[in-house]
């Protein structure tokens, strides 16, 4: 997942387990592509399953999660030296929970319909492993600008994967996208796609494609080596 540790070229003191230094764009791009929280790290699958039955839900959930991720990562990175190691997880969760509550209340005030559709899954962002994972693995060990880049990348990666699943499920399950009918009146919606089993089926198909791609790359690497 991570490249072998490169020698520290920063003016920062050494922090055990810190991510290797690299350009900012790489920190951000990692979350979207080769270190995608959903497709590669397979984190945050519970909210993914739960809210991916309509694209509007996915967009709202993605934005809310990204907001929490960016806010908490930035704050954790700024105060990383003041937060004693023994209580860091408590403080991380405290910071994350605060941002989640802010996001939840804001959604309820600004878009009540979507907030109702997301139900308990916005408050549950608190326990989304992507956010605590990034706080512990990245934000707590790097300078704020790197934490910000990483959070934006991870948030974008999560949102993109979530929206792709949402679009697929809503299109087949309701024949619509963002509530606009796409497939016409003659299309009989596959009800199972908007129900929980549809989430598992969709994710299974995605992982099948990912696995097929990985094994194809491995075969090609072997062929080159041979």
């Amino acid at each position: 997942m991570t490249a072998p540790a490169a020698p520290l070229a920063q003016d920062e003191p050494f922090v055990p387990g810190a991510p290797p230094p690299g350009p900012l764009w790489l920190d951000a791009w990692g979350g979207i592509a080769q270190n995608n929280p959903v497709l590669v790290q397979m984190l945050g699958l519970c909210p993914l399953m739960a809210v991916s039955n309509s694209l509007a839900n996915g967009i709202a959930m993605g934005i809310a999660s990204t907001f929490v991720l960016v806010g908490s990562s930035l704050l954790i990175s700024i105060f990383r030296k003041g937060i004693a190691g023994e209580v860091r997880l408590t403080v991380y969760i405290l910071i994350i929970a605060t941002f989640v509550t802010v996001a939840d209340l804001t959604l309820a005030a600004a878009v009540p319909e979507i907030s109702k559709a997301l139900g308990p899954f916005v408050p549950l962002i608190v326990v989304n492993c992507i956010i605590l994972g990034r706080a512990e693995a990245f934000a707590g060990k790097v300078v704020p600008k790197r934490a910000l880049a990483d959070a934006l990348g991870m948030g974008a990666g999560f949102t993109l994967a979530l929206c792709a699943l949402c679009a697929f499920r809503e299109l087949l399950g309701s024949g619509t996208l963002l509530g606009v009918n796409i497939l016409g009146p003659r299309f009989e919606p596959w009800v199972i796609m908007v129900m929980p089993p549809g989430g598992f089926l969709t994710l299974g198909i995605v992982f099948l494609i990912m696995g097929w791609d990985l094994s194809r790359k491995a075969r090609r690497a072997r062929a080159v080596a041979a």
Partner: protein, 222 residues
């Protein structure tokens, strides 16, 4: 978001393996204090908008089930009796209410009441409009439901089902066949439980509110 930026445990020394207890306590206390203050602040700021949305939803449902009344009277449930005066010292949103709708000529269209009972998943909450004089339904509108998408949620999304209740005389019965009977309603295929829940909520609510309204009118309608 900006509110927490001032919170600062001293950033002078890096965390070591043995941090004194007072620093741990201070970190948690500072963090907790600022988090609490921020949440309280955002809660206060968003509360009016959240309540406006809830009120608008109820108002919209009342207008829908009474067919856009020209004037609305509100009755409040105080103890077991209805009153035109709201009870003193209680948050009005928490009081059970009935809305009486009148048309432009001042004639009563009907009464809208809220009722909730378990459906297939969680409570189904309806706004029900009916005419107390004839026990005939005007319509219902779903305020909250978590029924199965694509099947049970047709009680909300399939307007033809809600339309089948129009003019039916309570108590209503469900049937699987299409019907023209004055008190039977065709249920939704694949959503027997959800259909039955709607019918039961309507029957119970109308029976209960008929009693309350009769008692209210006997008392002179004050």
């Amino acid at each position: 978001m900006t509110g927490t930026h001032q919170h600062g445990a001293p950033a002078t020394e890096a965390s070591s393996t043995s941090t004194p207890a007072w620093r741990l306590l201070a970190t948690l206390a500072l963090g907790g204090g600022f988090a609490g203050a921020l949440v309280a602040n955002v809660y206060e700021r968003t509360l009016p908008a959240i309540q406006r949305a809830a009120d608008a939803k109820v108002a919209g449902a009342v207008g829908e089930v009474l067919g856009a009344p020209a004037r609305l009277d509100t009755l409040y449930l105080v103890g077991a009796a209805l009153s035109r005066k709201p009870p003193a010292g209680v948050e009005l949103r928490a009081v059970t209410k009935a809305f009486i709708g009148f048309n432009a000529q001042g004639a009563r269209i009907g009464v809208a009441v809220e009722a909730a009972e378990p459906g297939f998943a969680d409570d189904v909450r309806l706004m029900i409009g009916f005419d107390p004089a004839t026990s005939a339904l005007i319509g219902y509108s779903v305020l909250a439901q978590k029924e199965t998408p694509g099947l049970g949620d047709k009680i909300e999304k399939d307007t033809s089902f809600a339309g089948r209740f129009r003019g039916k005389v309570v108590p209503v019965k469900g049937t699987k066949n299409s019907t023209l009977d004055a008190s039977t309603v065709q249920t939704i295929t694949g959503a027997t439980i959800s259909s039955r829940a709607v019918i039961q909520i309507i029957n119970n609510a109308v029976a209960l509110w008929q009693q309350r309204l009769t008692a209210f009118e006997k008392e002179g309608g004050k």
